[in-house]
């Protein structure tokens, strides 16, 4: 069993660069990968899959009923792990200037958006005495976290440095949102959240280390087996501990990015064949899960409006720190991300029916926000 001949053919200097870069000679692999994953605007939007799910689900044709949904739960866990891996890989070395300032800005965006959106939703829920199950404040925060996720538009591969940096900011704020979201879900699911979160991250890193040790020198057949085994472990760790495969996947991917060698590129390449179907499946399941009640529709409308307001305010607040025009920041941050729906689905898996209103609100508001975002971008691009 020797190393993968495809990797050997790349040569040592090329091995230090992304596989796609070495082949195509351009640094365009990351944005394209995120595009394929559906983490940002795609020609086939998330909205479409959510609608398909809604049509097939119990509220529509009932082809995807509760028993069918239960049977595909394992695939959902795997899809979450894959998305987690790509969130981590998305933070790989990006050609942006002022990295420190960018990190600070990313954190600030999350700090501004979540309290504004979550606080606003909580006040509305309390004042309207909305008939929702579970912990109202936790649910509002969860919606805020999930709906706050941004995905870079078709700007991440732009020739302009400021546009690239804005796109990177949209990716960066995924990580604190993911950690915060998983923490809230784990706290609601069971006791001992801190320990389980710590073990999830430690085991995610350990699984990442296993992959790093194995991927590079494996032949194609066994590498496929190792990648599949690693992803299953990452999914299983989150599922077993009642935290999230998104977190374990993200931690493993961050390790692959940080360690020397092509483990990150190997994973990205080997997971490519499964990423799109899995994300599509995730969106269809999210669509089928939606509870089309009046409360959910009202909450969705509130979430979409509050989200736009929160993102605009975050853009204004961060503009000085990031040295980016607030208009550019806003257009990038307004685009919702599939990661939000993934996080909400994860919450739904762990928290059960009590928090179905959270999953439903996030799913529909992300789908609606995706329809709205291009209009805002076109407006900005026209003005620019």
């Amino acid at each position: 069993m020797g190393p993968d001949p495809e990797l050997s053919e790349l040569g040592p200097d090329q091995l230090d660069r992304p596989v796609e870069t070495a082949v195509a000679g351009e640094w365009r692999w990351l944005p394209h990968r995120r595009l394929a994953l559906g983490l940002r605007s795609t020609p086939i939007p998330a909205f479409l899959f959510v609608v398909v799910g809604a049509v097939l689900g119990p509220a529509g044709l009932d082809l995807l009923g509760p028993s069918a949904l239960a049977q595909v739960q394992a695939l959902v866990w795997v899809a979450l792990a894959v998305i987690g891996v790509f969130v981590g890989l998305g933070l790989a070395n990006r050609p942006v200037d002022g990295l420190g300032r960018t990190y600070l800005s990313g954190a600030l965006i999350a700090l501004v958006t979540i309290p504004l959106l979550g606080g606003g939703l909580y006040l509305l829920l309390v004042q309207a005495a909305a008939p929702v199950a579970g912990h109202v404040a936790a649910g509002a925060i969860l919606i805020a976290i999930c709906a706050s996720v941004s995905a870079a538009l078709h700007t991440a591969d732009s020739d302009r440095a400021d546009v690239r940096r804005a796109a990177y900011l949209a990716d960066l704020d995924d990580v604190p949102l993911l950690v915060a979201g998983v923490a809230v879900v784990a706290a609601l699911a069971a006791e001992g959240v801190a320990l389980r979160l710590a073990v999830t991250m430690a085991c995610g890193a350990a699984t990442g280390l296993t992959g790093w040790l194995l991927f590079e020198r494996a032949d194609p057949a066994e590498r496929g087996l190792f990648v599949a085994g690693t992803v299953l472990c990452l999914a299983g760790i989150g599922a077993y501990l009642g935290t999230s495969p998104l977190l374990s996947g993200c931690v493993a991917a961050l390790l692959w990015v940080a360690m020397p060698g092509p483990a990150d590129r190997i994973t990205a390449r080997d997971l490519q064949w499964m990423q799109h179907p899995l994300v599509a499946l995730l969106l269809v399941i999210a669509g089928a899960t939606v509870d089309w009640s009046a409360v959910v529709l009202w909450l969705t409308a509130c979430t979409v409006i509050l989200r736009i307001a929160a993102k605009l305010l975050a853009s204004l607040a961060v503009a000085r720190v990031s040295a980016l025009p607030p208009g550019l920041l806003a257009t990038v941050l307004l685009q919702p991300g599939v990661l939000g729906i993934a996080l909400a689905l994860n919450a739904g898996q762990l928290l059960g029916q009590d928090y179905l209103w959270v999953v439903s609100t996030v799913t529909v508001s992300v789908a609606l926000s995706e329809i709205l975002a291009p209009f805002l971008v076109q407006t900005y691009e026209g003005a620019a």
Binding site: M1, A189, L213, L225, C233, Y240, Q349
Partner: protein, 425 residues
């Protein structure tokens, strides 16, 4: 070195997760499946370095990490891991069917008939007699008079004699073996499997009649015909459809193959068909009506079959019940030795009788020691139907299967190596 380190890290990870557990989520299949894929494969490649089949490494992994030793794969996890079984069986049997070319096998049909018939029927007769005589001293409980005891002995002997097509075919697939011995072993095992289903059904019917444990089934012939002929017909039809697809479309072959396996795994149990037979028939048809496509397909799926084999045998290892071996160990060991002697002795007699001593036929016995899932399935039926002695027989069969599933692959790999047929496919 890197692989050893990776294995250690994996073990540490599982320990960490287990310590903080218990599982909060409903699904526990992904973690043991991922762990098994990586760790069992690493152990499998390590066992290959000491000239053992990889499959033994996968089984050993399951045994070591299973509920009875390290408990890294807990009992519920081991149960969840069985989810891959139907699919894996279909894939393994399909691959075996693709290896069976009737034209290549034709010169050996006489040898197959003589070997299969002599070993299977000879062992059945001798074992039935021995069990009938030794029944009072075996831990089976009282069954009554001489005739009921003979019926119980016949049923038990049918279980003890049975072979494992699954393990045999898997060792051949993972050894990439091709040659006369490979084809002989496969053909004998498949013939023996057909005979076993027939003999077992007849023995059960006889036992029901003598022990009056339930009404004798009038439609036995119909049921048997359906199980045997129906399986072959269903698999054959699926094989024809698949061969046509390969010839006409010829794209997305792996996906199509996996779909065929999924259809077999889901539909065969629903129709009360024998999954292994149906999948074998499908592979046989593809190989024999579209040979170039069949060969290309065989090479194409070797890559895809790897994770399925690893998961299947790791799960089998994890489900081996060591506590049972402790209870009926002595009886099991004595019967295992007797079975081994019978298979070897009858095989040599058949070889001499049919004048096959110059051919690889004299090594065929080495491929007939394994026992696995089919035997356990039949033992479970016996346990349910004859509560007075069936559960004890099942316990013995579980122990015997544990012994044979560990030793059988090693012997077969050794035989294939001696015949020079490893890595020839």
């Amino acid at each position: 070195m890197r692989r050893a380190a990776a294995l250690l890290v994996m073990l540490g990870t599982m320990l960490g997760v287990q310590t903080v557990g218990p599982p909060i989520a409903a699904s526990t299949v992904m973690l043991p499946l991922g762990f098994a894929l990586i760790a069992a494969y690493l152990l499998g490649t390590a066992s290959e370095r000491v000239r053992l089949p990889r499959l033994s490494g996968y089984l050993l992994f399951g045994l070591l990490c299973g509920p009875f030793l390290l408990n890294l794969i807990t009992a519920p996890m081991a149960r969840d891991l069985q989810v891959v079984n139907g699919f894996a069986l279909a894939l393994i049997a399909l691959v075996a069917g693709l290896e069976l070319n009737v034209q290549r096998l034709r010169p050996h049909l006489h040898a197959v008939g003589v070997l299969g018939g002599t070993i299977m029927l000879g062992a059945l007769v001798i074992l039935s007699g021995v069990l009938w005589l030794a029944w009072p001293w075996l831990p089976f409980g009282e069954v009554g008079g001489a005739l009921p005891r003979f019926a119980a002995a016949l049923v038990t002997a049918a279980l003890i004699v049975s072979f494992s097509p699954t393990v045999t075919l898997a060792v051949i697939a993972e050894s990439r073996a091709r040659g006369t011995l490979t084809e002989l072993v496969m053909a004998v095992v498949i013939l023996a499997d057909l005979l076993l289903i027939l003999v077992f059904a007849l023995a059960m019917q006889f036992a029901r009649w003598t022990l009056a444990s339930g009404p004798a089934e009038v439609g036995l012939g119909v049921q048997l015909s359906w199980e045997l002929l129906g399986s072959l017909a269903f698999g054959g039809l699926l094989g024809v459809a698949f061969a046509v697809y390969l010839r006409v479309v010829g794209r997305e072959v792996t996906l199509a193959l996996l779909s065929v396996c999924a259809v077999l795994a889901v539909v065969a149990p629903l129709l009360h068909l024998e999954l292994i037979l149906a999948a074998l028939a499908a592979g046989l048809v593809v190989e024999n009506i579209a040979p170039p496509e069949g060969d290309a397909l065989l090479h194409g799926i070797e890559r895809g079959a790897l994770p399925v084999l690893v998961a299947f045998f790791a799960a089998a290892g994890a489900s081996l019940q060591l506590d049972v071996l402790a209870v009926v160990g002595t009886s099991a060991l004595a019967l295992a030795v007797l079975r081994f002697g019978l298979i070897r002795g009858l095989s040599e007699a058949a070889v001499r009788w049919a004048k096959l001593s110059d051919t690889p036929a004299r090594l065929v016995w080495m491929g007939l020691i394994s026992q696995a899932g089919v035997t356990l399935g039949l033992a479970t039926i016996v346990a349910a139907e004859f509560p007075a002695w069936g559960p004890q027989v099942r316990t013995l069969i579980v122990a015997l299967t544990g012994l044979h599933v560990l030793t059988g692959p090693i012997l077969l790999k050794s035989g294939l190596q001696r015949a020079g047929e490893v890595n020839q496919a």
